[in-house]
């Protein structure tokens, strides 16, 4: 296994880089989507509440692979030209965004009513109240679920193999097939995922210690 990995180190490395970029970009966009969706759900505007609820229900109850295919073929049918990487980023962020929306909403619900009352007392409007007072605290309350979602999202990048994004899983399958040694190739990929995700988990643990609010 070591031999095979050393021999194809550059290929694995390029796959690993694609996976990392995929995981980071999609998670950042997903965070934005999550905050927007959560804001919609707590807004006093029923159409936005329903839109957000529908969005969350749709994406949380559909298999990710199905979403990959629907977006991939959908974009083609609509005549929109996106490359596979961009499509994967869009699908992953839309999917993880729905989960993050729920996580942020639970953070908002956990915040004491007094915060909102005080903000209104000093004259903040709803948007200011949300963006200056509520959301920053809400995010800090749900650092642990957010970190779990980061890791889940990073693992889900593997599914991009279905639309031929050249990420780690794709590369491992390719090397495994050309060298007729799937066992080493997949074990190597699994090890890379495991080490980097345990590392990411440790970073989030550190962030959590610094910023998290315990309730």
């Amino acid at each position: 296994m070591v031999g095979l990995l050393a021999e194809h180190a550059d290929v694995f490395w390029s796959g690993f880089k694609v996976t990392t970029r995929l995981a980071l970009y999609s998670f950042i966009i997903a965070l934005v989507i999550g905050v927007i969706i959560a804001s919609f759900r707590v807004s006093p505007i029923p159409p936005l509440q329903r839109f957000a609820a529908g969005y969350v229900a749709t994406f949380r109850n559909s298999p990710l692979l199905v979403l990959f295919f629907i977006f991939y073929f959908g974009f083609t049918k609509l005549g929109i030209q996106f490359n596979e990487f961009l499509t994967a980023v869009i699908v992953l962020s839309a999917y993880t965004g729905a989960y993050l929306g729920e996580a942020v909403r639970s953070g908002i619900n956990a915040i004491d009513v007094g915060q909102a009352e005080a903000a209104r007392a000093v004259g903040l409007g709803f948007v200011q109240l949300l963006s200056l007072i509520i959301i920053p605290q809400a995010l800090r309350t749900v650092v642990a679920p957010i970190s779990n979602l980061f890791i889940a999202n990073a693992k889900n990048t593997a599914i991009a193999v279905s639309i031929s994004v050249r990420e780690l899983t794709f590369v491992a399958r390719q090397v495994g097939s050309s060298e007729a040694d799937y066992v080493s190739a997949f074990l190597g990929a699994a090890l890379l995922y495991m080490v980097s995700l345990l590392f990411a988990g440790a970073i989030f643990g550190w962030i959590e210690k610094r910023v998290a609010i315990r309730r």
Partner: protein
Amino acid sequence: MSAVLTEQLGPRGRRRVRAANAVAIVFILALAAFVIYRLQATGNFEGSLWEEFIDYETQWPQYLLAGLGYTIRAALTAMVLATIVGFIAALGRLARSRPVRWIARAYVEGFRSVPLLIFILFAYLGLQQLGLAFISPFSALVIALTTYNGAVLAEIFRAGVLSLGRGQSEAASAIGLNYWQSMRLVILPQAVRRMIPSILAQLATLTKDTSLGYIIGYEELLRRAGRLGEQSPSNNLQAFFVAGVIYFIVIYLLSRLASRLEVRQRRKYGAGRVEAGAGLEDIDALGVEADVSEQRLREPAISA
């Protein structure tokens, strides 16, 4: 919830909300209209692209529904096996012997930081290479789902047992029950009842994940939709859409049932779905963590 963030509105506030309502409706309708217009313009609503999915003569509905049957078969088989594996791993994590605890912990934590797809590919291509040529896509999918979900369920079980608190096991040993007796007679009957909503939610996640069998060619719903799409590429989008709707219905019903039961239990026992261990609750493919965290966050409010 929004009552927390907005107070009783005055006349000006009500006017603003009405205006925002109108803007939001226009915006959402415009978005929907745009997508529908584009799909219409590219001819995706042509009746001929859809009618084959509801026409029994074409055999398509039967073909897809049989695929759903294979999806359910894989999901249920893996769920039963994963429950057994998870149960054993949870006992391992709660065991008194340190090496046993350590092995169980390595299994639970290690297996949860690798993508499920790697397990599936390994169980199919890797095991065949190791000489297990008889591995079919079905057994590979079940093996992968079992090992992976076993690790997730182990945490749910462990949390269920721990949620009972020390008092129960102390009382059990006080009346002279040994470890296994107290597990069987006192701890598990209570813990299992509390775990049912989490287990159902995990079943919904697992059903979602069976779609990954597509990649190794297991003939489940998504693979069959893909085959229809290959057979007539003009409506491949429609094929995946129909499959998506079927998945949605099944998974939505399962997760609704799970949250229904959870609400009922919370009312009954004052406790909801059990939460997996601190910092470990990634009930993966993004399963239930949001609800779990919500419950954890709500708990102090209940006890206060």
